[in-house]
């Protein structure tokens, strides 16, 4: 596939450089010896850099490709045709039957050995690859990822004529399809809106939960057949989902798929988007044209089956065509893996027709030709030949008349001939799609306009889009509504993760604002630097640097009373200020000294009233002082749990040592007179028992004297 203007090779260079670093030195020297033929014993890093340079050099690539055995060259040509930059070993193996002399796994091994394709070693930890056989022998073929360099794939495509040709029919009949290439972009716009309202959750196995599956599959705009003639195209919404993920419009995490931003391909013209959609279509894995959504743990058959169908059309002459049966029989003869197990040849033919009519005709990659009395046939369109074979020129005629009609009830009528991918992405962001058809309808709502503004559009940008594309003046009440909805958004501004700069004095903050270092004043000493600009540290001397998503820092030092504390100004933060207001009372402190606070019954009662619980207080003590909650603070916060203290007159007896006390408490003759133990060496005795205790102690030689007589 022809690279589009938004294509860049740099990411592939980075990825392949990382992969080569995971090669064992012996293997790396072996591969690079064939790839770049070094004359000396170059260092590893130099070998890798020279290899990357070679992969970006069309002349060197062409020379390298011509040296390949025919089967390996044929495989490269098919990969080049696909435009894919990643696939699996299983994908490559499934393409081999299309070659005249597949030679087992030989072509794949040859391409790995020659350094023209690479094993995906992205997530292998510190593993060093010693041989390719070890790598693809250790996992199922569908789990062995391959990385392809787009520059190499572009050159490989020109080798297409070497593929075994398929017998075709001479072109006859009329082009029956009237696709404009916008069907799928429109559906992607609708899908983006659906996911903007809520992400799609995935199970641990990576498949959609039933609720989300139904939400997408049964959506009124997404579920209709993309073919105007209404061919059965199961789960069209799920195809849109896969296309959107492949395109980068939706982002996928292990547990969910969520709406991202519209990729640059939407603004690069119809041809660019068609190329990206084509590539995304070749990566659809959880869907097949017979069963619809059908994720499987094994190797998905749809991507390579789809590629084989396009390859069939790509191998025939420009003025020839093929029926679905022609392609089906060719694949069957070649023993190409069918779309699903237990199939009949007719199943694959049905699948081919659905793929062509439902996916590639609406994308304008393929044209459908009809002759009365003959079955329909298909061929690559001019756009398809340009994108897949590099033939001809891209259609740069992007003529988009003013075809929107904005009505006073905030509905927008959009005539299809005036839409473009760029306009679709803009409309999708700020207006809600209601119907898709020759004339599409949308509606402006507060929510849709808010979504548009949050996606980066400005109120002026929305108005300008409507004005530029409207065939009539935009009604004043609509413009007023837009202005009102936009203003409402400015009432609350949220900074989810911003940097605040705290100055020593209000005067310094004002001076920094004057110098353009601060964009917005938050308090009299705190400001926000200009958005999107790196902080220029040459203007600042850092006294402290606190990351609020890290653990709170210890910045409180308690005094012996367990209630009074001072603040370490270097490590304190804004959260602490808020916590202090809630927990403590400020104490007067001399100028130049650390600020002091105290936990008081009133302040702790206030915090309890505001919902601070004992566990919060305990955590605060540990986080901020590194100490457990002090007994005094615990006493003030908890009290005694309403258990009363008691007072009264008691006689106190103090023994000379703890050992004596223990003995008195254990010996039954004396223990019976003890009322309670008050301390290590102190007990209390009722006054009427004192004489008895004194008598029993005397029998063992422990005299008792009144206090003061010792």
């Amino acid at each position: 596939m022809r690279p589009d203007p938004v294509e860049e090779y740099a990411p592939a260079d980075v990825r392949i450089r990382a992969i080569l670093r995971r090669y064992d030195e012996v293997l790396l020297r072996d591969v690079t010896r064939r790839l770049i033929k070094p004359r000396n014993q170059w260092p590893i890093d130099e070998l890798i850099e020279k290899s990357i340079q070679m992969l970006n050099n069309p002349v060197s690539i062409d020379r390298k490709l011509r040296e390949l055995p025919p089967a390996a060259l044929g495989l490269m040509a098919m990969l080049g045709f696909s435009g894919l930059t990643a696939c699996t070993m299983s994908d490559l193996m499934s393409l081999l039957p299309l070659l005249d002399d597949p030679d087992g796994r030989g072509p794949v091994t040859a391409l790995l050995d020659q350094g023209l394709i690479f094993p995906d070693l992205t997530d292998v930890g510190s593993f060093r690859l010693k041989s390719f056989e070890d790598w693809y022998g250790s996992s199922p073929a569908y789990a062995c990822g391959m990385v392809l360099h787009p520059a190499v794939m572009t050159r490989a495509r020109v080798m297409m004529p070497r593929l075994p040709m398929l017998r075709s029919r001479p072109e006859s009949g009329d082009v029956a399809s009237s696709a404009d290439g916008l069907e799928w972009p429109l559906r992607l716009g609708v899908l983006w809106q659906v996911l903007s309202e809520g992400e799609v959750r995935l199970t641990q196995a990576g498949i959609l939960f039933r609720r989300d599956l139904q939400r997408i599959a049964q959506h009124p705009l997404l579920s209709i057949s993309p073919d105007p003639a209404g061919i059965d195209f199961p789960d069209a919404g799920l195809v849109a989902l896969e296309l959107a993920v492949g395109l980068g419009l939706l982002s996928r995490k292990p547990e969910e798929i969520y709406a991202g931003t519209f990729p640059a391909s939407f603004t690069g013209g119809s041809e660019v988007l068609a190329g990206r959609l084509l590539r995304a279509a070749l990566q659809i894995r959880s869907w097949n044209p017979l069963d619809g959504y059908a994720p499987s743990e094994g190797p998905p058959r749809t991507p390579m089956f789809t590629l084989a169908v396009l390859l069939a059309l790509g191998t025939i002459a420009e003025d020839a065509m093929l029926t679905d049966a022609d392609i089906g029989h060719w694949l069957e003869e070649r023993r190409f893996p069918p779309l699903r197990g237990g199939h009949t040849p007719q199943d694959d033919i049905d699948g081919i027709r659905r793929l062509l009519d439902g996916m590639f005709v609406p994308m304008t990659i393929v044209e459908r030709l009809e002759t009365e009395g003959s079955p329909p046939a298909w061929r690559l369109s001019a756009s398809g030949r340009y994108l897949l074979l590099g033939e001809g020129e891209a259609d740069r005629n992007e003529n988009h008349p003013q075809s929107l009609v904005v009505q006073p009830n905030c509905e927008i009528l959009g005539f299809r001939q005036g839409l473009s991918p760029d306009l679709i992405q803009k409309l999708s962001r700020f207006a809600q799609w209601k119907t898709l058809g020759v004339a599409c309808t949308l509606e402006l709502t507060p929510e849709s306009v808010y979504r548009g503004l949050e996606s980066g559009l400005s109120p002026d940008g929305i108005r300008e889009t409507l004005r530029r594309h409207s065939s009539m003046a935009v009604p004043t009440n609509v413009l007023d509504s837009l202005a009102g909805w936009s203003r409402k958004r400015e009432r609350i501004t949220v900074f989810p993760s911003t940097t605040l700069i705290e100055f020593q004095s209000p005067e310094e903050l004002d001076a920094a604002i004057e110098r353009g270092l601060i964009a917005q004043k938050i308090t009299e000493r705190i400001g926000i630097p200009p958005e999107g600009r790196e902080i220029d540290y040459k203007h600042f001397r850092l006294l402290g640097n606190r990351d609020y998503e890290s653990r709170p820092q210890e910045c409180v030092v308690f005094e012996a009373d367990g209630l009074t504390f001072s603040i370490d100004p270097i490590h304190s933060d804004l959260l602490l200020e808020a916590e202090l207001v809630r927990l403590a009372e400020v104490l007067p402190s001399p100028a130049g000294q650390r600020r002091k606070f105290r936990l008081t019954p009133a302040s702790l009662r206030r915090s309890a009233d505001q919902g601070v619980m004992l566990v919060d207080l305990e955590r605060w003590f540990v986080e901020r002082s590194g100490q457990p909650l002090s007994p005094a603070a615990r006493l003030i916060y908890c009290g005694s749990g309403n258990i009363p203290a008691h007072s009264g007159n008691r006689l106190v007896v103090q023994f000379p040592s703890e050992m004596v006390t223990e003995g008195v408490l254990q010996w039954p003759d004396t223990a019976r007179w003890v009322e309670s133990r008050l301390g290590n060496c102190v007990i209390s005795v009722k006054s009427e028992n004192l004489a008895s205790l004194e008598r029993d102690l005397a029998t063992i030689g422990v005299p008792m004297l009144p206090f003061g007589d010792e």
Binding site: S196, E199, E454, S497, I501, E508, E579
Partner: protein, 91 residues
């Protein structure tokens, strides 16, 4: 014009989550909402509320439930609107 070679002694507070309201009454309205008041760590001024770290998604959801359309600047969540807004390099 202030001296351009003066280096200001400052403390940097990174990855702070804030809400700025148009007026103090709106901040009061936010604080009066039970589900939001628990997420507010403090009030820096009458119009500026400090949000607990990691609670921005819940705060945005609740603000939207209240019918507000907050202007989100910078990104910390995967909410599409947030992602596409200009992003601070600091964050």
């Amino acid at each position: 014009m202030a001296e351009s070679n003066v280096r200001f002694p400052v403390r940097l507070h990174r990855r702070v989550c804030l809400i700025l309201t148009e007026d103090a009454a709106l901040a009061e309205e936010v604080l009066a909402r039970k589900k939001l008041s628990g997420e507010v760590a403090g009030r820096l001024t009458s119009r500026v509320l400090l949000i607990r770290p990691g609670r921005i998604d819940a705060v945005l959801d609740e603000l939207r439930k209240m019918g507000h359309t907050p202007h989100v600047i910078g990104a910390s969540t995967h909410h599409p609107a947030v992602e596409s807004a200009p992003m601070s390099k600091e964050s």
